[in-house]
């Protein structure tokens, strides 16, 4: 569940983006994933409202939760994935920001209200979503339609593919290929998924997040990766491609949430309103090459993004995307399976 360059580097990095104003009227402290917001928007918000904005970054939901739970104070807004939004709301770490009463809410795709705890958008503002698919180098593998092609190529060219070093994502592919839900709690289904992935392991070069450079250079032919790679594919469409696998794939969505102990509640709400503006949502989606949840923003996207089947997929493709639920204690089933996959 991450898109930043290097996990460890990103978690160490804390970028402070300060508004130009010497005498800022107030502050706003953001805690977001690495590389997960267009920096121009932060500058623009700071200038428009005279607010000094700081941005710290994390690279996993768990890392963010651990810090918030440990009492990291001073942050106003966080960007949890939907299942983490549910957890944080249950733990009482959030307060309602009522984005559903803000101007522009009507543009938010009702399908993006994915949180089970927050079905009406009383707490958090849906932010962005994307599929997890396959990023590939066309010089080595001209066409990939799905996981079957991906693994068939690996069988013929061992070591030339990578999968994400994420137990839910990679076992999720096994579950999809064995016809189960990616949120299965059935030990038999999970063990079939484990078996499926274990069979591929000898042909998988590495489990890695950071594969853009390796695919681009042709060190590996294809990597299991987030839709953000479309940015690279669009820069070099001759050689690079991204596909949402036809067998189905996982997807992620993050929401912007207001922390219960946020020191700058008013500025945080202003920021949500700012992000609700279609032109800002579009500017962000353009930079992240992510799916946007703002229906009015889709019209504002450049042609090559609006018509991109990975960024703005058809309803049929969307129907095959599954989002992760939190599994609570049943996560153990996956942990052990993952440990075994990695040990063989």
């Amino acid at each position: 569940m991450k898109r930043s360059l290097v996990r460890v580097l990103a978690s160490a990095a804390a970028i402070a983006v300060c508004g130009q104003m010497a005498a800022a009227e107030g502050k706003l402290n953001l805690y977001n994933w690495g590389d997960y917001i267009n920096p121009e928007l932060i500058d623009a918000f700071g200038k428009e409202f005279g607010v000094e904005v700081t941005l710290d970054t994390y690279s996993t939901n768990e890392e963010m939760l651990a810090r918030i739970q440990a009492g990291a104070s001073g942050y106003d807004l966080v960007w949890p994935s939907v299942h983490m939004h549910d957890i944080m709301q249950q733990l009482g770490l959030l307060q309602p920001a009522h984005p559903n009463q803000m101007p522009g809410w009507e543009n938010i795709d009702p399908a993006a209200l994915r949180s089970k705890e927050d079905p009406n958008g009383d707490y958090c503002l849906p932010y962005a979503w994307g599929a997890v698919g396959i990023f590939y180098n066309k010089k080595l593998i001209p066409e990939v339609k799905g996981w079957t092609d991906f693994f068939a190529y690996a069988k013929a060219n061992p070591g030339k593919i990578t999968m994400l070093d994420d137990l839910r994502e990679t076992l999720g592919v096994g579950l999809i290929m064995t016809g189960a839900s990616v949120n299965s709690r059935d030990p038999d289904e999970i063990s079939r998924a484990e078996e499926y992935i274990s069979e591929q392991v000898p042909n998988i070069g590495a489990f890695r997040y950071d594969v853009i450079a390796l695919v681009t250079a042709g060190d590996i032919a294809a990597g299991h990766y987030y839709v953000g790679a479309v940015l690279n594919a669009l820069q070099d469409p001759e050689n690079l491609g991204f596909v949402i696998p036809e067998e189905g794939a996982t997807m992620y969505q993050e929401d912007i949430c207001l922390l219960a102990n946020a020191p700058n509640v008013d500025n945080a709400k202003l920021f949500m309103q700012f992000m609700l503006r279609p032109e800002n949502a579009a500017k962000n989606a353009e930079r992240l090459t992510n799916g946007t949840v703002n229906l009015a923003a889709i019209e504002l996207l450049p042609e090559n993004l609006r018509t991109n089947p990975s960024i703005n997929p058809t309803p049929e493709v969307r129907a095959k995307l599954q989002i992760f639920d939190d599994l609570g204690k049943d996560l153990r089933l996956y942990t052990k399976a993952w440990d075994r996959i990695k040990t063989n």
Partner: protein, 294 residues
């Protein structure tokens, strides 16, 4: 006398405070956590839960699990890579230390500077550089292909080879410095004496040089072995996370698996094996001292 003692206490206070606050208390927390139940979203439940250690040994936690000592297998892998790292860095540093010790003072200073030079750059960046060197289109493969020594790129990256290479690279200075300090002080008149008394080169080496330089080798080996055993960055980057060491398992337990108690138990397993190594060494050194005195 009491004034002397008070002064000593005052001198020891800072280090005791630092060790107490930043070492003993965290260690105590790790020990306590390893006997608690994992919290649902990380953290712990304050319930007595001794099963984390059983799990390391492979005992099944519930009905659908079977006895499966994978965590011991992963630990064995860690031991293997740590030993290989010690072995290769020893093979590199031992002759190098002799070579450096025979240079002029200016040369020595320069070589020692070169050996500590890597510490000026972040470890992650240096590991990343190895990734660029070893990858199929990297400098090493491109060079070999240019020289027509290979026709297909070698699979250097994401392998056990890359992991050992990376760790040897990181830990070589830690091996070199203690050996060098030892070799530097080596009394060459003893070597000449053994030669004068008719020992052949092998005898001189095994009966004079090796015993005299053993303390440096042992110190270097321990200093390398300890961090190598718990390393997780090198297997994650250069092993492509397919090579798995206990350090990776600990990292995953705390983050992805949200099982802090199990991670704590694994951390203590590593620590226990390190303490074991140190104890063996202390006992041996103690015996040797006793032997020397007698």
């Amino acid at each position: 006398m009491t004034r002397k003692r008070n002064a000593l206490l005052l001198l020891l206070a800072p280090i005791s405070l630092i060790l107490g606050i930043f070492f003993l208390i965290p260690l105590g927390i790790v020990v306590v956590y390893s006997f608690l139940e994992p919290g649902l979203y990380g953290g712990v439940e304050w319930t007595w839960y001794p099963y984390n250690y059983g799990r390391i040994l492979g005992w099944p936690l519930n009905d659908y699990e079977e006895f499966d000592p994978i965590y011991l297998a992963i630990f064995a892998t860690s031991l293997k890579y740590a030993f290989l790292t010690v072995l290769f860095s020893l093979l590199i540093c031992y002759p190098a230390a002799f070579w450096v010790s025979r240079r002029s003072a200016r040369w020595k200073g320069f070589v020692l500077f070169l050996i500590t030079l890597p510490f000026f750059t972040s470890l992650l960046i240096r590991i990343y550089a190895w990734l660029l060197l070893l990858r199929p289109t990297g400098f090493i493969n491109a060079g070999l292909e240019y020289l027509s020594l290979i026709s297909q790129p070698l699979d250097l990256l994401f392998s056990g080879f890359a992991v050992v290479l990376g760790m040897v690279y990181i830990f070589t200075p830690f091996m070199f410095l203690p050996i060098y300090a030892n070799v530097e002080k080596l009394d060459y008149s003893l070597i000449r004496a053994s030669q004068d008394l008719g020992a052949n080169p092998a005898q001189t080496f095994f009966r004079i040089i090796l015993p005299l330089t053993a303390p440096g080798m042992i110190a270097g080996s321990i200093i390398v072995f300890i961090p190598a055993l718990g390393n997780f960055i090198v297997p994650a980057f250069l092993g492509g996370a397919k090579v798995q060491m206990t350090g990776n398992l600990i990292e995953r337990s705390f983050l992805q698996s949200r099982d802090w108690p199990f991670g704590s138990a694994l951390a203590l397993l590593i620590m226990a094996s390190v303490v074991l190594v140190l104890m063996v060494q202390t006992i041996r050194a103690g015996r040797k001292q006793a032997g020397d005195a007698a």
